[in-house]
């Protein structure tokens, strides 16, 4: 067939207005089928990436379960599964509506009677495969909702081993239903920040959420930790930091590798489209860069750990891989693989320095290093975007980071403060010694092995 591609497309568009008779399939019919197929492919890609990100909930659960003591394991698992569920429901109730519009309770997400016509019309308007992606609204919700849960998962690790279960879950409702969707609207949806300024106009960009998801989660966690205080026994009488080793490093390792895998969905899915050559290639680059940044972060962290502590600290290696992932998340498509590796490595170095500084200098007790991994490295990720992406400005990144941090940290401080006044956010000293597994859940994760 000698028909050119453009002619084909034009015919395809025309074919929408005048459906072919039941004869031999016309070019228009073929085009319509191709559009159907592209819609299916991009929707399918979105859903699979969403499922990968959902699995990151397993990663966070295992990582945190591994890095807390055995007496607090069942409770941290409870928090992780409950927060994921709350995130999903709250984002459905009002979060998605606040962030992207479309009414509360997802009214109309199923597409309506003209779903097929609308989608085909949207394709036809583009007259080209390389335009914006057209995919199911339901798949968009599904993909977005797992990001909310990720942001909230970051909080649970930092406040582990001492926060009351129900205070934490109450915070999760506000965080996932309101705090996160507001800043999400200012960034990914391009809304003005309270009608004052527009981050997009200032040259802000955060591809998959180094700031919007990760730093936001860390800001909420930091506010909680400041009001909560350190775990009992974490600091000596003169403020010297003491180690509280995690119960299960195999679980922490498994969790990290699950997160690493889930991140392909997190970053890869954020391309939002697979169905043309340029985007398919972009997706491949994103996968490649995401992976290599994690590797760079891990290698850098273990070298720094060996140099600083004399030993290869596994937990620092794990944090280093995650730091590399967080750093590359702000822009995984424009760096070369070499740069992506170096960006990841910068995150790996920074995370070790940040964890020890928060621990020794600021006396901020963060059992899993969440504030350093997601907050400090999230900020680094944002600031590295202009290095490889010419459309983005340092000024825009700094304003964006400040906007996200001030909003999330401020709101979180207020919410944690109210919770502290109303119901208390910390278990009693005796309960903390007993372990929150028994106090909150009435069960132990390892009833036959626990030593307190």
């Amino acid at each position: 067939m000698k028909t050119s591609f453009k002619t084909l497309l034009a015919l395809g568009a025309a074919g929408l207005a005048a459906p072919a008779l039941a004869q031999e399939p016309t070019v228009a019919d073929v085009m319509t089928n191709v559009f159907h197929l592209q819609y299916a492919m991009d929707t399918f890609y979105f859903l699979v990436c969403g499922a990968l990100v959902m699995w990151m909930a397993a990663g966070f659960s295992m990582l945190e379960a591994g890095l807390v003591r055995g007496k607090n394991t069942a409770e941290i698992l409870t928090k992780n599964v409950a927060l994921f569920s709350i995130s999903c429901v709250m984002y459905l109730v009002c979060g998605y509506a606040i962030m992207y519009g479309g009414g509360i309770f997802l009214s109309g997400i199923e597409g309506g009677d003209t779903l097929v016509e609308d989608a085909l019309g949207a394709f036809a308007e583009q007259a080209d495969f390389t335009g914006d992606s057209v995919y199911s609204g339901a798949s968009d919700f599904f993909f977005q909702v797992v990001f909310v849960a990720t942001a909230m998962s970051i909080v649970s690790g930092a406040v582990a081993e001492r926060m009351k279960l129900w205070a934490f879950l109450a915070f999760a409702i506000v965080m996932t239903g309101f705090i996160y969707p507001m800043e999400g609207a200012w960034t990914w949806n391009g809304d003005d920040v309270f009608g004052m300024y527009n981050l997009g106009d200032l040259g802000f960009s955060d591809f998959a959420g180094s700031g919007i998801v990760h730093m936001a989660g860390a800001a909420a966690a930091l506010a909680g930790v400041l009001l909560l205080g350190a775990r009992k026994g974490k600091y000596g009488p003169n403020g010297e930091p003491r180690a509280i080793p995690g119960a299960n490093l195999p679980l922490a390792t498994l969790g990290t590798l699950i997160l690493w895998m889930g991140w392909f969905g997190f970053n890869g899915g954020s391309v939002l489209k697979l169905g043309d050559i340029a985007n398919a290639n972009a997706v491949a680059m994103v996968f490649l860069n995401t992976n290599t940044a994690a590797a760079g972060g891990a290698i850098a962290a273990i070298i720094v750990s060996k140099m600083m502590f004399g030993k290869a600290d596994l937990t620092m290696l794990l944090n280093g891989a995650l730091a590399g992932l967080v750093v590359i998340t702000a822009e995984p498509s424009t760096p070369t693989p070499l740069l992506a590796t170096l960006f990841g490595a910068a995150g790996g170095v920074l995370v070790v320095l940040s964890i020890t500084t928060l621990d020794r200098v600021f006396k901020i007790d963060d059992p899993v290093g969440a504030i350093s991994v997601h907050g400090v490295c999230g900020l680094l990720g944002l600031l590295l975007v202009p290095v490889t992406n010419g459309d983005v400005t340092f000024f825009g990144q700094i304003v964006g980071a400040l906007t996200i941090f001030v909003w999330v940290f401020g709101c979180s401080l207020i919410v944690w403060g109210i919770l502290k006044a109303v119901m208390g956010i910390r278990v009693s000293e005796e309960e903390e010694y007993e372990g929150v597994d028994l106090v909150e859940c009435g069960q132990e994760a390892y009833p036959e092995f626990v030593s307190k």
Partner: protein, 114 residues
């Protein structure tokens, strides 16, 4: 006294060597306990995520063996030789006199019960 009771605190990884050496010189049975403690070696500090933690009590293995008094010198020498690394923390051997030994199954007493 015709019988001696010897307690030795040794490094855990030396247990197999000591047991084999004792069997080789005809010791009929020993009792082993995993214990923790400190001596001149004291504990040591470890780093976890850059923060120090002190291990006050180090894991050791305690061996107990009851023998005829005339074997005592040989048993002590054997334990000394097989448990030694030359480094601090090799442990100690304590020697006691034994008043009586009774085999529960048969009621035999004294050296017959060893």
């Amino acid at each position: 006294m015709t019988m001696k009771f010897i307690t030795a605190i040794i490094k855990p990884f030396k247990l197999d060597e000591v047991r084999e050496a004792l069997s080789a010189i005809g010791v009929q049975g020993i009792t082993v306990t995993e214990v923790k403690g400190f001596g001149r070696q004291k504990g040591h500090t470890e780093l976890y995520r850059g923060a120090e933690y002190v291990v006050d009590f180090l894991p050791k293995v305690k061996i107990e063996v009851a023998i005829r008094a005339d074997m005592a010198e040989q048993v002590i020498e054997t334990i000394e030789k097989s448990a030694a690394t030359g480094k601090i923390g090799d442990g100690k051997i304590f020697v006691f006199d034994v008043e009586q030994v009774i085999r529960i199954r048969t009621g035999e007493t004294g050296t017959d019960a060893l």
